[in-house]
């Protein structure tokens, strides 16, 4: 999959302080948030650097000054190999969601290609295969293979549906308008 260019983002997110205060995102929500960020990295070979660059563009330079600080926040995902206990504060989760929305906006043409049914089937299959390969590589590298959630992601029966859900989340959460939709979805009650 082509590497997306780091063009000037047209996204100007409103300051987080204007957002209505709400409940914190659960561990389950943090898990989905990190998996979507992992999907962004699978779609964009330069995703890790793009995240730090985008964080600075959105004004989150103090929260995420480098990759290590970003990684420390993402380690609240319970599926991580180096998992951290506790919960993230609301400004931190809001910043991560804004970052994800901006990255998804940048990658939207790619997400659209994956979801489109008008493209030739062989080409779409190849795109999904490439995404699957990269995502599974990142999952094996960073997530705990003993966790049921990770095994499900790598399972040939459940994997495709879960990967489609991650791409759905990115496509419908892309851009400034996707922030509230994605945040509300991450705060869903756990089944």
């Amino acid at each position: 999959m082509a590497n997306a260019s780091l063009g000037e983002s047209s996204l100007a997110q409103p300051p987080l302080t204007q957002r209505p205060a709400g409940a914190r995102i659960s561990r389950r929500g943090l898990e989905r948030l990190d998996l979507m960020l992992l999907s962004v990295e699978a779609l964009d070979l330069n995703g890790g650097e793009a995240m730090v660059w985008m964080a600075a563009q959105l004004g989150f330079g103090e929260l995420f000054p480098n990759r290590v600080e970003l990684w420390k926040r993402r380690c609240y995902n319970p599926l991580r190999l180096a998992c951290r206990r506790g919960e993230l504060s609301e400004p931190e989760t809001d910043a991560l969601i804004s970052l994800l929305c901006a990255l998804a906006d940048r990658l939207y043409p790619m997400l659209r290609q994956l979801l489109s049914s008008t493209e030739p089937e062989a080409v779409t299959g190849q795109r999904w295969g490439l995404f699957q390969g990269r995502l599974e590589e990142l999952i094996r590298e960073r997530l705990n293979p003993r966790r049921g959630g990770v095994q499900k992601l790598l399972d040939p029966a459940y994997g495709p549906q879960l990967r489609r859900q991650l791409i759905h989340g990115l496509a419908f959460g892309a851009g400034q308008g996707g922030f509230d939709r994605l945040k509300a979805s991450l705060m869903d009650a756990s089944a």
Binding site: L115, A171, F172, A191
Partner: protein, 215 residues
């Protein structure tokens, strides 16, 4: 002065016509009164209508997208609403979506549109651009985005999977109980004989033990 704004996203283009509402102290470049709109979707007929039709479209499509992100799409829009959206039946329920548009013109049959995920996300992004544009100050009465309650999320899990845990627990309880019933009941201790010569001695011993002084 008539204003016209366009919002575009890949396969979707929305044109909005309107006027500023000077009674609400709006600026010259703000649409406060919507006079008309036209939605062009690649591969589908163009839609147009009034303010209430656009509001109905937004009230159906945006909550539908919200539920789709959570993996539980369901029908939005009442039976008599101008716009109704629901997932396709069968295996394509998560990838294809059916939109039913009812015309306000008499003797016009409803128009059915089938969208794939890409077309729907284009439409959603176009509507997002519209609702977040400060140049459009029209109240579309959109519900706030809220986390879904547990009962709506449970629909995502198949019934068999949902019932597996309680059924396994009940089976385990039944097995444990039946094993317990199979164990022999311990014999009762021998009942003391009803000999009047022995029983007074036994009854006398008890008070002594009870009044045994504590050192």
């Amino acid at each position: 002065m008539k204003l016209s704004y366009r919002f575009e996203q890949t396969s979707c283009r929305l044109r909005l016509d309107g006027l500023p509402d000077y009674s609400a102290a709006q600026g010259q470049d703000v649409i406060g009164i919507l006079t008309g709109w036209e939605l062009s979707l690649a591969g589908h007929p163009a839609l147009e209508g009034k303010r209430e039709h656009l509001a109905a479209l937004m009230q159906a499509v945006l909550p539908y997208a919200r539920h789709l992100v959570s993996g539980v799409p369901r029908r939005f829009g009442a039976q008599d609403s101008p716009v109704q959206i629901q997932p396709m039946e069968g295996e394509a329920s998560l990838t294809s979506h059916r939109v039913l548009v009812r015309s306000s013109q008499p003797d016009t049959s409803p128009l059915e549109l089938a969208f794939d995920d890409a077309e729907l996300s284009d439409l959603v992004r176009c509507l997002d651009q519209l609702r977040l544009d400060p140049r459009v100050q029209v109240d579309f009465e959109l519900p706030a985005e809220r986390p879904l309650p547990r009962r709506e999320i449970l629909e995502r899990i198949p019934l068999r999977q949902r019932l597996a845990s309680p059924l396994a627990a009940m089976a385990a309880l039944a097995i444990t109980t039946s094993i317990g019933l199979m164990l022999p009941v311990p014999r009762r201790p021998a009942i003391p004989s009803a000999n009047p010569a022995v029983s007074p001695a036994a009854t006398e011993a008890r008070p002594e033990a009870a009044v045994d002084p504590v050192p």
